[in-house]
Subunit: 218 residues, 2 copies
């Protein structure tokens, strides 16, 4: 009896933390999801909602992470950052992403994020094109917390990344739409160039454009 | 001698704070600028760079705030937030924006921002189409600081606002470009709708689209 009360109390606190971190029912939070299957770690940017006491995400079947979930994943970590370079590395340079051990789960954390939510995978439902994943947050930790100014370049890079990950799919399904996506990446490139002369940002958006072009022309 | 040392020390600290808040040389920080001219307060979203020990912004001549700077403004506040609704209100609903007194300057703060930088206006240079404004930060204060998840909807609304403020100008100069801007706002509307079902966000982006259409069709 006592133990189950304690457990409930712990869960309550975690949900409060998760809400405080900005997870919500109506607006997706974009995080970097880390999982571990046997000895293999994988990570990818994923959009997450808070539905009741569950965190929810939808994993499309064209990703490696989908295949891992299909094999059976027990836990995962939601790594919270708004650093566009981290989002970029989570797709293009997974090996560059520095990892650190988690507190309660076997899946690792991504170093240098501002907060972490460690989760048990509660329930998955495999559909044709994607998988619904419901997670139970069991531990939340905030690391850094200094307010920062709003910059346009980061979100523009993140939007370009999202489009990039869709081009592969649409290239075969809808060529015109894929070309249209390419134009959109150019728009985001303009935003980056217009709002920042930072080399790293400009190189990153150029790289995304190049990779998108490579997919389209292949 | 002592006094001037103290002064230098104070300034040093402020610049450190300003850097910590994310102001940088290579990437614009988008803030809400507040000014006071005689008894009139005005505010607007503005992009700011940190150049040496100066904060710098460029104010286009089609704004009210430009005319105030032309009349002579002694101080201002850079209000730091990433809340898209605040950016929206700073353009469309200026009266709705709650203000609070500053610590060292006569220009007020915008309530509920995460940080504030109070500045003396150091030097302005009027060009034909715009005015270069160099500010001296004299006091910086951080209020709230809890890490938050990254959400796509906010930046999309802010980008739509930026486009909106350009349509009026391009409507007379370059009609084709203005129509093109309108299409871009639609793209950002898609991002908002795709990443959030939050009423306030959806209404806000719809409003921006409506206002843009009204300008174009007028
Ligand atoms: C900000 C952002 C959010 C994303 N959200 C999702 C998502 O919710 N579901 C999904 O399946 N893919 C999403 N993606 C795409 C995946 O991250 C991408 O396909 C990734 O390369 C998959 O890696 P993997 O093949 O190693 O699993 C997102 C990408 C970005 C940049
Ligand atoms: C995020 C953002 C950044 C902006 N940056 C600038 C800027 O750097 N310079 C400028 O003149 N206008 C900028 N604008 C446009 C002005 O905020 C806009 O023209 C405003 O309505 C001016 O208000 P006023 O006419 O009351 O002065 C920006 C708008 C947004 C949404």
């Amino acid at each position: 009896m006592f133990e189950s009360d304690e457990h409930l109390k712990l869960q309550d606190n975690v949900i409060d933390e998760v809400k405080k971190l900005g997870f919500a029912k109506h607006t997706f939070s974009e995080v970097i999801l880390t999982i571990k299957y046997e000895d293999i770690v994988n990570l990818a940017p994923i959009g997450v909602l808070l539905l009741g006491s569950n965190l929810y995400c939808k994993i499309y079947s064209n990703s490696k992470i989908y295949r891992f979930f299909k094999k059976g994943i027990r836990d995962c970590v939601l790594n919270i950052t708004d650093d566009p370079i981290m989002f970029y590395n989570a797709i293009f340079e997974k090996r560059k992403v520095a990892l650190a051990p988690s507190s309660l789960v076997t899946s690792p954390r991504v170093k240098e994020c501002v907060a972490y939510v460690e989760c048990r995978v509660d329930y998955t439902e495999d559909r044709r094109e994607c998988m619904d994943v419901f997670m139970n947050p069991i531990f939340a930790e905030s690391i850094k917390s200094y307010p920062g100014t709003y910059k346009r370049a980061g979100p523009a890079i993140i939007e370009a990344l999202i489009i990039y990950t869709k081009i592969e799919h649409f290239k075969t399904v809808d060529r015109v739409k894929a070309e249209h996506f390419f134009e959109k990446i150019k728009t985001f490139r303009e935003i980056v160039y217009h709002s920042s002369t930072k080399k790293e940002y400009r190189q990153t958006i150029d790289e995304i454009l190049k990779m998108s072009e490579a997919i389209l022309r292949s």
